[in-house]
């Protein structure tokens, strides 16, 4: 692409930062909101009602959004190369060469994320006021939501890995808390734990990658002739050398080289060629495997956990146990895209290693295909959306994997809008059907819930990739870039056709996406209402909703204003987001979002050159994929008339079973990881009981024997001596007491004898 060429031609320079001392306010407001609701919420709710509780939550979000907008305005006002706002509050710690500041940075990429988080977050807070209206622990819900937004903002705005990791773990915690929000239901509590544990597994990969990268920046291990590995530290004078190389010696050319946790410092030293850091990183190997590939793969393991990629995707469908606004905010729009954000943020690292790129893109494609096929046969509307999310995240990873970072980020943005719309639409449906989630018991809701229907349809249109809705532009750009990427490698082996394989997988997945989304639409909104008798289940009564006029409790109804307004706003966003991504082939200049993100994505990625006509052809293929999926869904599921699905079902029962049960991945985990860990635990328990305890008991017995001997010595030897002294004193006293008769005569005897003795003695001496 021309832009890549432009990057390669001009030498990149260090980022120029602009101080913006108000950035800390953006995450601060949600933190305050969370704090107030968490500590005082229960009392506020009891005394002033739920209105105050959600006012605090929404108010915090609104203020945060306003500050984010202000930052956006300031950022837009700057030159495109200078768009970097920095707000360092204080130093957290300094240890050797590591300096970690509590600092917030906004560049175009994190600005985009911040706007998504605060804007969609705010809308979803509003939606929650309607959806959770009957929840007794309303305050707890809003406290968690605000805490989540705080963590997410920390993740995207933190200017170093430590803050990012803090946010990364924070969103994991909030995800756990919110999935298990109705913790009295053991199944939901278990879903929360599953999400947490799976995420922890991914986080382990993330932190390993971080350590490895940090270590690699410090220096190089070199093999001496005698086969010994020796550690050669990076030249500490490299900084000055760089300044000298540039000749003019202005301060702007000063770049810190060496281990760092700061994204900007990392970017500067990797991106600027004259530092030599990129070359050094590329040449490093570990166990014969490229170190950068390892770093990329480990970082991506973290992303796999957080963004539910194969094989760590298992937690996301279960996470639907949480309240629907949570599914929309955390498990569709924001948190699960953290992995995509992270890869895009570290684009200059990933782009250096074809293996890491291939790995990310291939896992993404595999996930997109795999999850889309599971989505075909789910009946739970939220499960369909959950697998759709997994699949769409796969698309994003194809984008950031093949090097089309802006396209991945763009799909993240459009997906945030249309998937939030879909989830909130499903929430509206679930609310309307009295907490029924099974699509077989819905149908015909289009007449009863017109706003929900139309917004849902628009979002389906967007996700299926029909032109003029946002999904088309982002998905086509990703697949097109995947096709024209020929420089990737698969586990160290160059694979020029990997991009085309991924394209093929992606286009199949896109067809599937269109199919299952329209299937859910037709099953839910067309035909006749099939529910109405399922309301009696205990689950629905557990947390029914407030608009339940008991006269017509069994008829679905449109949701309250707070919900429909949000749906309309989000659906509008899903359409309008198309404006910033209209491809170059149509307009002749780069898409607005690509221009906007360009300074943040300095990675040099080369794509094969094709004529615009080829690009149009691929767009046509993309649209037809969507149309085919839609046509099948319409034929099979519209108005619930067709008998074909039932026939197919009976014919392919076996295959259907495998897909419906999610390819038995959970069972596979059960058999391998869970049983393995339980077996290991049993083994360790046995070892503990029989070996360790035996050793402990032996030590105890030996000690006891020694103690007995010691006791005997004490009792018989030491005490004996003491008692002997005492006894001797006593008997001596007894003997001596006789002398003290108390009779004067006895004493006189003594005196007399003494006197006589003296006299006699006197004579004798003489």
């Amino acid at each position: 692409m021309e832009h890549a060429a432009a990057h390669a031609a001009t030498e990149l320079t260090p980022l120029v930062t602009h101080a913006a001392s108000y950035l800390w306010l953006i995450p601060f407001f949600p933190l305050v909101g969370a704090f107030i609701n968490a500590t005082l919420g229960v009392r506020l709710q009891r005394r002033f009602g739920k209105g105050l509780v959600h006012s605090i939550g929404i108010g915090a979000m609104a203020m945060s959004f306003i500050v984010a907008c202000a930052a956006f305005v300031q950022l837009v006002g700057l030159d495109s190369e200078h768009r970097f706002l920095q707000d360092t509050l204080w130093n957290i710690f300094t240890a050797g060469k590591v300096t970690v500041d509590l600092g917030f940075a906004l560049d175009p990429l994190s600005m985009m994320m911040t706007l998504i988080i605060t804007f969609i977050g705010m809308l979803i807070h509003v939606f929650s006021t309607g959806y959770m209206a009957d929840e007794p622990s309303y305050w707890r819900f809003f406290a968690y939501l605000n805490l989540f937004v705080f963590s997410m903002l920390l993740l995207v705005m933190g200017d170093n890995f430590v803050l990012m990791f803090f946010g990364w773990e924070g969103v994991g915690l909030c995800s756990y808390l919110l999935i298990a929000f109705w913790y009295t239901d053991p199944q939901k509590a278990a879903a929360g734990m599953k999400a947490f544990v799976t995420n922890r597994f991914g986080d382990f990969g993330f932190i390993l990658g971080l350590f490895l990268l940090f270590w690699a920046l410090g220096g190089v291990w070199q093999k001496a002739p005698d086969g010994k590995l020796t550690y050669v530290e990076n030249d500490p004078h490299a900084e000055t050398a760089l300044a000298a190389a540039h000749g003019e010696g202005h301060d702007a050319e000063y770049v810190k080289i060496g281990p760092t946790l700061n994204f900007r410092e990392l970017r500067d030293q990797v991106v600027i060629k004259s530092t030599g850091v990129a070359e050094k990183l590329k040449s490093q190997k570990m166990f014969g495997f490229g170190l950068l590939a390892m770093v990329g793969i480990l970082f991506f393991v973290g992303a796999m956990g957080k963004s539910a990629q194969l094989p760590l995707h298992v937690w996301l469908p279960d996470a639907m146990a949480g309240p629907t606004p949570v599914s929309a905010l955390i498990h569709a729009a924001t948190m699960v895209t953290a992995g995509v954000y992270m890869v895009a943020r570290l684009n200059f690292i990933f782009a250096l290693s074809p293996t890491a790129m291939g790995w990310v893109a291939f896992i993404g494609a595999l996930t997109a295909l795999f999850a889309a096929s599971i989505g075909f046969f789910q009946y739970d509307i939220k499960k369909v959306l959950a697998y759709s999310t997994v699949s769409q995240l796969g698309f994003m990873f194809i984008g950031v994997g093949v090097g089309a970072y802006w396209a991945g980020a763009y799909h993240l943005l459009t997906h945030a809008f249309f998937k939030a719309t879909l989830f909130l639409g499903s929430g509206s449906v679930i609310l309307g059907c009295h907490h029924e989630q099974d699509m077989r018991k819905m149908g015909g809701l289009g007449k009863l819930m017109p706003v929900t229907k139309w917004t849902y349809l628009i979002a389906c249109w967007a996700i299926a990739g029909f032109p003029w809705a946002s999904g088309f532009y982002s998905k086509d750009e990703i697949l097109w870039k995947a096709f024209s990427q020929e420089g990737m490698a698969f586990l160290g082996i160059a694979a020029p056709h990997l991009g085309q394989i991924i394209y093929f997988m992606g286009i199949v997945a896109a067809t599937g996406t269109s199919f299952y989304m329209f299937r859910s639409y037709y099953m839910t909104f067309t035909g006749e209402y099939r529910g109405g008798h399922g309301h009696a289940d205990g689950h629905a009564d557990g947390h029914g909703h407030g608009n339940d006029a008991h006269g017509h409790a069994h008829v679905p109804h449109e949701s309250p204003r707070s919900i429909t307004l949000v749906l309309v706003a989000l659906a509008t966003g899903a359409v309008l987001a198309a404006v910033i991504g209209v491809p170059m082939a149509w307009t002749g200049h780069a898409p607005l979002l690509e221009q906007w993100l360009e300074p943040t994505l300095p990675a040099v990625v080369l794509f094969a050159e094709y004529a615009h006509s080829t690009e149009f052809l691929f767009q046509f293929i993309g649209v037809s994929a969507g149309v085919i999926g839609w046509a099948f869904a319409r034929a099979l599921y519209k108005d619930n008339k067709s008998q074909v699905p039932a026939q197919l079902l009976s014919r392919w029962k076996g295959a259907w079973n495998v897909v419906y049960n999610k390819y038995f991945v959970d069972e596979l985990y059960q058999a391998t990881v869970l049983r393995g860990s339980v077996g290991l635990a049993r083994g360790l328990s046995w070892f503990d009981k029989h070996i360790i305890d035996a050793m402990v008991n032996l030590a105890g017995a030996v000690t006891r024997i020694f103690a007995n001997i010691d006791g005997a010595i004490d009792r018989y030897l030491v005490d004996g001596a003491v008692n002997f002294v005492a006894g001797a004193t006593l008997s001596a006293g007894r003997v001596m007491r006789r002398v003290q008769t108390g009779r004067i005569q006895t004493y006189l005897y003594g005196a007399l004898v003494g006197a006589i003795a003296l006299v006699l003695f006197n004579f004798l001496i003489r």
Binding site: Q740, T741, G742, R743, I744, Q745, L748, Y749, L752
Partner: protein, 102 residues
């Protein structure tokens, strides 16, 4: 044979010895008191004898008079104590009167 100082001294020593013997051996408190009287008188005899043969004046007899007075007082006090002991213990055996020991 004329009386010399030595005769008096021998008599005095004998008196002292008898008195001391009485004090040491007798259990009866009155007898002990009598022994003390003997010892005092032995001393008196020596004082008078030394006054006559050595000093040649009456200072020895004056000393004796004081001692006699003292002995009388002492006998009175001693008998009073013995009476008190008797009233308490119903005997005057010195081996029984051991309450001061405690």
């Amino acid at each position: 044979m004329a009386l010399t100082l030595n005769h008096f001294l021998v008599i005095g020593a004998l008196l002292f010895g008898f008195g001391l013997l009485a004090v040491v051996t007798r259990r009866n408190a009155v007898a002990v008191l009598m022994g003390i009287e003997l010892i005092l008188n032995a001393a008196n005899l020596n004082l008078v004898a030394f006054g006559r043969y050595v000093a040649g004046n009456i200072s020895g007899q004056v000393f004796s008079l004081f001692v006699i007075v003292l002995a009388a007082a002492e006998a009175a006090v001693g008998l009073a104590i013995i009476l008190a002991i008797y009233q308490m213990l119903r005997n005057i055996d010195t081996s029984q009167a051991t309450t001061l020991k405690e």
